[in-house]
């Protein structure tokens, strides 16, 4: 078919304009804002005051921001290991001829179709609750009084209860990605390996894992993006105003850009700097992941 350049331009123009207005403009404006101070996020540029890298320097000196960064890193690392381990485990089990595969797959994926708000409430009120939560009841029934009295929502354990609840809900999503990755691997390799006498474990480590490199790359990128944007769960664990156990960089950004219940000063410039730093974190991880999982020339 003959290409008609005018028509191509006509049809791509609306999407291009939307992209430029909705994405590129805010990105550029945010990047610029991070070098200025202003009273409100929508103040006109003429009122901005240039401060150079001061917003970034101040952020690195702000202890609550560093706490938020530490929380995010711990969610990424510890939660990441747990989520990826279980997602892979379930995916491997489900692709090894387990009965009622669709049922199990649906059950494990289920938390992803429930709103995070409802799901967080379920964890807070029905599982972690100190008086009538599920964990309390199980330990009480077993006669383990000390464990039954443990307060999973107190100031020292809030981070861990949050991490467990969030990670639990994430497993199904990543399991599906692993599942699709494993299912497209050619069965010939496994047949040949079986004939050669390799057991399931050897097949997993020598065939499945190496061939899933590309999937790991996708999963690490998706996990990073979801952890960097960690917001709703933190708000659910600490409603109205944040706590150091549950604060993450984007929650901190929201607080300083829009203010909270008190009459605290709003700092949109500093908030923009948080946004830029988070974008850099994603880029850095993406770059590292690409280096770590170089595409092989494998074709299957």
């Amino acid at each position: 078919m003959k290409k008609n350049k005018t028509m191509i331009i006509c049809f791509t123009l609306p999407a291009t304009i939307v992209f430029l207005v909705m994405f590129l403009y805010p990105v550029i404006r945010t990047a610029m804002m991070s070098f200025f101070t202003m009273a409100s996020v929508s103040d006109s540029m003429s009122t901005w005051e240039f401060v150079g890298l001061a917003n970034y320097a101040e952020l690195l000196k702000t202890s609550i921001f560093m706490t938020a960064m530490k929380n995010m890193l711990m969610i990424w690392l510890i939660g990441g290991i747990g989520v990826i381990f279980f997602a892979l485990l379930f995916a491997v089990i489900l692709t090894n001829g387990v009965r009622a595969k669709s049922f199990w797959r649906a059950i494990i994926y289920l938390p992803n179709i429930i709103s995070a708000v409802a799901f967080a409430n379920m964890w807070i009120y029905y599982i972690f609750q100190k008086r009538f939560g599920m964990i309390h009841n199980i330990f009480a029934t077993l006669g383990l009084d000390k464990l039954a009295r443990t307060d999973y929502m107190n100031g020292d354990m809030k981070f861990w209860s949050l991490l467990i609840a969030f990670s639990f809900g994430s497993v199904g999503y990543f399991m599906l990605i692993f599942l699709s990755g494993i299912e497209r691997l050619p069965q010939d390799y496994y047949e040949a390996a079986t004939i050669d006498g390799a057991n399931k474990l050897q097949q997993f480590f020598h065939i499945t894992l190496p061939l899933l490199k590309g999937v790991f790359k996708t999963i690490l990128t998706f996990w990073t993006v979801s952890v960097v944007g960690f917001f709703v769960w933190s708000q659910m664990w600490s409603p109205v105003n944040s706590e150091s156990q549950t604060i993450t960089p984007v929650v901190y950004m929201y607080n300083i850009v829009f203010g909270n219940t008190g009459m605290s000063e709003r700092m949109p410039g500093k908030g923009a700097a948080v946004g830029i730093l988070m974008a850099l974190v994603v880029l850095l991880i993406f770059f590292l992941v690409n280096r770590l999982f170089r595409e092989d020339d494998l074709e299957f």
Partner: protein, 415 residues
């Protein structure tokens, strides 16, 4: 490609681009339409009452009103950018300090309009002066849904413990707590979301709000008042006056599962509380309330309280100032103020609506006797970088998992 097809494709492209321009074209309403961005949701009792008032106003006056329910978060995130972007918004509302503080530069001075309408004749003086105070000495906002932050309690439980009068001093308060405890009742509970109000009130009673702001913004945590406050709270914790759930209550667990269900007697909160928990508390729940007790050698007493209101503001660029003020008057006076108060179990703004809903009637003497105003959480949330740390450590102090000295140390090292 045939000419017909080309023309059709071009028309489709034009249609696509055209639809993109529609939102921009509808930003401004017609000149004769009042645009009101409401802080409520259309499903809330306040939203429903306001909708009724607006409908009646439109029917009576013929003025067109475009009422948009944005919700708290919607207004908080989008109002200012919309105002900066020149969107037509004639009336908006939110908390008294937020509207006067953050949106102050967009507000029309309402002194003349209020005088002309003789508005203040039937308005609560304390609320009007609070608005003037928040508006740097001039009236820029009109209060409605007044509220006061105080101890709300279960009268039946007080009666059961043989308590005859509400405490006004700290010693009396401790006595009330002990009596409740002796009667086998948990004296009080709290939720995490309001923990900062407890520390704010206690510090504020000791040294006043100005000093509280100084402590949190300048890191003056070595002030003796901080230790004094922490010791008082530690004393409440070690005496067993707080619920064992206080360390892990995530709002609204404490107010819903403890206070409303009658397992705890007192809860420090705003006068919106009875409305929030009415379905759980049931119709027989008898509400009482008293001001945060005065402390020995404190800077202020029970006459100083965190009271305020939601307020209406009018955009200074509006072309319909008179109509906007009339609509506000319509909502905040007479029949519709009464309706709003009844539907939301709130305090009426119009003094001729002398009968308050029974559930909040206990707050009347409190508001009548309040002469000086604290702002939200008595200023303890002024430093956004410290609020999460204050909240977390103070909850530990209330839960008894941290001592007063440890609290002060934690604050000093975080500042």
């Amino acid at each position: 490609m045939g000419l017909k097809k080309k023309l059709l494709s071009a028309a489709l492209c034009a249609a696509m681009v055209g639809t993109m321009a529609i939102p921009a074209a509808t930003v401004s309403a017609a000149d004769d339409t009042l645009v009101y961005w409401s802080m409520w949701e259309s499903t809330e009792p306040q939203g429903q009452a306001i909708q009724e008032a607006v409908d009646a106003y439109v029917a009576e006056t013929g003025v067109k009103v475009d009422l948009q329910f944005k919700g708290r978060t919607g207004n908080r995130e989008a109002l200012q950018p919309a105002l900066d972007g020149g969107t037509q918004i004639d009336i908006f509302d939110e908390d008294i300090d937020r509207v006067n503080g953050m949106y102050g530069k967009y507000l029309l001075d309402l002194e003349d309009l209020a005088k002309e309408a003789n508005y203040e004749e039937t308005a609560i003086p304390a609320m009007m002066s609070a608005c003037r105070e928040a508006g740097d000495g001039t009236l820029k906002t009109i209060p409605y849904q007044p509220n006061v932050f105080a101890f709300f309690y279960n009268k039946d439980l007080f009666e059961q413990a043989g308590i005859e009068s509400e405490p006004t001093t700290w010693a009396e308060f401790l006595d009330v707590c002990q009596k409740l405890k002796d009667a086998g009742i948990t004296p009080m509970t709290m939720d995490d979301a309001y923990a900062t109000s407890v520390i704010g009130y206690h510090l504020g009673r000791l040294v006043g709000e100005e000093k509280v702001v100084e402590i949190v913004t300048e890191g003056k945590w070595d002030d003796p008042a901080v230790l004094q406050m922490a010791q008082d709270i530690e004393n409440l914790a070690t005496s067993g006056y707080y619920s064992e759930m206080v360390g892990s209550n995530v709002w609204p667990a404490g107010q819903n599962t403890e206070l409303a269900l009658g397992t705890a007697a007192m809860y420090l909160n705003g006068s919106w509380l009875p409305n929030e928990v009415k379905d759980m508390a049931g119709p027989d729940f008898k509400w009482g309330c008293f001001a945060y007790p005065a402390l020995e050698n404190g800077a202020n007493g029970v006459e100083t309280n965190n009271f305020g209101a939601q307020v209406f503001g009018i955009n200074k660029d509006t072309k319909l100032a008179k109509e906007a003020f009339d609509l506000i008057t319509y909502i905040t006076k007479g029949e519709y103020d009464k309706k709003l108060s009844e539907m939301s179990v709130g305090i009426p703004a119009d003094t001729t609506n002398a009968e308050w809903p029974e559930m909040v009637a206990c707050a009347k003497p409190l508001i009548d006797n309040s002469t000086t105003r604290f702002t939200w959480a008595v200023g303890v949330e002024t430093n956004v970088d410290m609020t999460p740390i204050i909240k977390e450590n103070f909850i530990k102090l209330m839960a008894g998992t941290m001592t007063a000295d440890e609290f002060v140390e934690a604050m000093k090292s975080a500042a």
